[in-house]
């Protein structure tokens, strides 16, 4: 079983890799751990299963989500994007972060299967997996401005 603290490092390293190589945004650990995303937010979740099961969530406010989508699409700052375009971009961020986590955990947890991402929009969004699950989360700043929360709910599966 992987240690809690180790999962937090894995989350951070995976997110850094994705944001540096694919999105071209600087990502640093937030100086105020535990800070929550406020206002209207988008949360992309992706579930995984096999020897370990759970859910990865990436949550950020709509302004940050738009900035991410603009960078991913290579558009000019302030470009007009549809709700679908922004949701799709955030879903793909979760997909790539999950992929990177998966390859980092492959020695401990082989053959993790992942779902297709889903994205919801709302306020004070939280995800839960019920009893006996572990939760680790990291808060990061993008480009020294935006706050993003990446969380992983997990439990060792019964099978």
């Amino acid at each position: 079983m992987i240690q809690h603290a180790c999962f937090a490092d894995t989350l951070l390293d995976a997110a850094k890799e994705v944001f540096e190589t694919m999105i071209f945004m600087d990502l640093q650990l937030c100086s105020e751990p535990g800070r929550r995303v406020d206002g209207e937010a988008l949360m992309a979740t992706i579930t995984f299963s096999n020897s370990i099961e759970g859910c990865l969530a990436v949550c950020t406010d709509t302004t940050c989500a738009e900035a991410i989508a603009i960078n991913m699409l290579g558009l000019e700052a302030g470009a007009d994007l549809s709700v679908e375009e922004v949701s799709d971009a955030i879903g793909e961020v979760a997909n790539m972060v999950m992929g990177s986590i998966k390859s980092r955990l492959t020695d401990t947890y082989e053959g993790i299967q992942v779902s297709i991402p889903s994205v919801v929009r709302g306020r004070e969004l939280v995800n839960s997996l019920g009893e006996k699950s572990g939760r680790v989360s990291v808060q990061v700043n993008l480009e020294d401005a935006h706050l993003m929360e990446i969380s992983l709910l997990y439990r060792e599966s019964a099978k």
Binding site: E17, L73, E92, N95, M96, M98, S100
Partner: protein, 125 residues
């Protein structure tokens, strides 16, 4: 000679990123098409085969593995089409099984233009 390319991914954002990365890698395609899943890709390939397909694995409707199987089994006009998978799936067992089904290469996400250059240039002549 310039080549034709089909990009298959359920994320429109990812398709744009793939297009940009191909451009950054310096590879030259004179025709680039997009499809949102394996089934759409099969329809496009039936109408006009391409030289190279860059294909995601996890997609709704028809995933990338089923697409490879179908192209190899049912589309003789695509016998020379090279299919390179582009996916967050990184397990060696899965990669081996997709290659056995007839894919010609595998690129894991996140990726770089250098990786595209390395994996695609053998098929550009």
């Amino acid at each position: 000679m310039a080549k034709s390319l089909l990009i298959v991914d359920d994320s429109a954002t990812m398709r744009k990123i793939v297009i940009r990365t191909v451009r950054m890698s310096g590879l030259d395609f004179d025709r680039t098409e997009e499809a949102g899943n394996g089934a759409e890709a099969i329809e496009k390939l039936k109408q006009s085969p391409v030289d190279i397909v860059l294909c995601d694995v996890n997609m709704p409707e028809m995933n990338g593995i089923d697409m490879v199987k179908k192209v190899r089994a049912e589309l003789p006009t695509c016998a020379n089409t090279k299919i390179i998978m582009v996916s967050t799936e990184s397990s060696q067992d899965l990669i081996d099984s997709i290659l056995r089904e007839g894919a010609n290469g595998y690129i894991t996400k996140p990726f770089t233009p250098e990786r595209f250059q390395e994996k695609l240039s053998p098929f550009m002549n």
